[in-house]
Amino acid sequence: MSPSLLELICPAGSLPALKAAVDHGADGVYLGLRDNTNARNFSGLNFDTKTLAEGIRHAHAKGVKVLMALNTFPQPATLARWHTAIDTAATSGVDAVILADPGLMAYAVKNHPGLRLHLSVQGSATSYEAIEFYRERFGIRRAVLPRVLSLAQVENVIAHTDVEIELFGFGGLCVMVEGRCLLSSYACGDSPNTFGACSPGHAVRWEQTPKGMETRLNGVLIDRYADHEKAGYPTLCKGRFAVGAETYYALEEPTSLNSMELLPEMARLGIAAIKIEGRQRSPAYVAQVTKVWRAAIDAVKKAPETFQPHPAWMAELNKVSEGSMHTLGAYYRPWK
């Protein structure tokens, strides 16, 4: 079998979103169960055993892979929940599980030796040494790299490991300490790694005031938008804070990653898969974004030398972006 190249991996927060991804050209979809075993633990989102079975059937009928994210860190009192989730993944016939916790990898290897393991971005492995560690100990087959590396650094990783490399292509940006951020926990006690969501809905309040729309996280004012200003997600990292005499985005601006123009370079490096962020979003988003990226990846595979992102693609992607603008993130930077 030839190694994977630029597989398009799309988010599925619900069965209709999964079908939208499959029907618009995804090579793989990733999803999670309805609890804190994955990092998109939002009310009403995700899959139960019935929708999981139907989703897998729909995807496999069209030759599309299903990956299950089990990318949070189990807590001692509820460890059994994570083990059951791995058992569910294995018995339901998903093509791989995406794990961050080494303990869960050990459990998977011991109990389901045939199950393919991917290292989650939440595992925060940025060097080939770290990735090789997971391969030697647990036989991981693919690693999703954190969004902190430049393409030159990605190239160095690829040169030193046979583990497939998956990169984020598009979507919301964390402040880029994947797997290590405690900002949400600081404000409301719940963090992505354990609760399974950053800024969970119960802690978020939006209110229109005479000064503008205010976003609060557990009472902490994190931003105020004037009437025609674009809004971002209610996460602390994208808040505006008073630092000295200035109030500004002190940590990160609300923008989305869009690495489309780097596709030819990613193809040259042999990137196995491109991941689209957004399991929290609706089927409409999944359909829009999958369609555009399918066209772009097909185009780059056909003629990498002449590839350029079509303006209409970029406009479509900008439209659905947080902050309605995009960045190449760390991928393109001259310094290391």
Partner: protein, 170 residues
Amino acid sequence: MNPPASILARLPALPRPALPSTFPPVLARVVDRLPSRPPSFAFAAAANGLAWRALRELDWSAARGKRFHARVRDLGLNLYFSVRADGFHAESSQRADVTFTASAADFARLALRLEDPDTLFFNRRLRIEGDTDLGLAVKNLLDAVELESIAAAMPAGLGQVIPHLRRLAA
């Protein structure tokens, strides 16, 4: 550089003349003066008639005992309702646990699955005030319903209208 024709063929649809994004302000001012009770009743009746058969199987436990307020900004229309075991109910009190504010056209685009709520939120076209988690739960609950199953459960023939409406509003 011009992309090859095959790429063009796969381009996402470019914007076409769409539903007006807002209704004439005069009309909105007129509607604004009307009491909210009759529209809430009309909304509940329409929602029950058209969609409840497909929606009643959903797990509405998060919505139990909660009151919703949809504010149609450009029409000045306020709909107050709750969701009970037997369907949508108009509420006469103006107290709500969560309020959604958008234009009529954007509510229509959301209902037809043409637009993602987060996109509208980023662009300040959708506002959610009050109990955010409740709003999120209902949004995700509705997202998990397949449009075809709503269409199939609609009264005779009406379901066929959905694909036409989607094309019109795209």
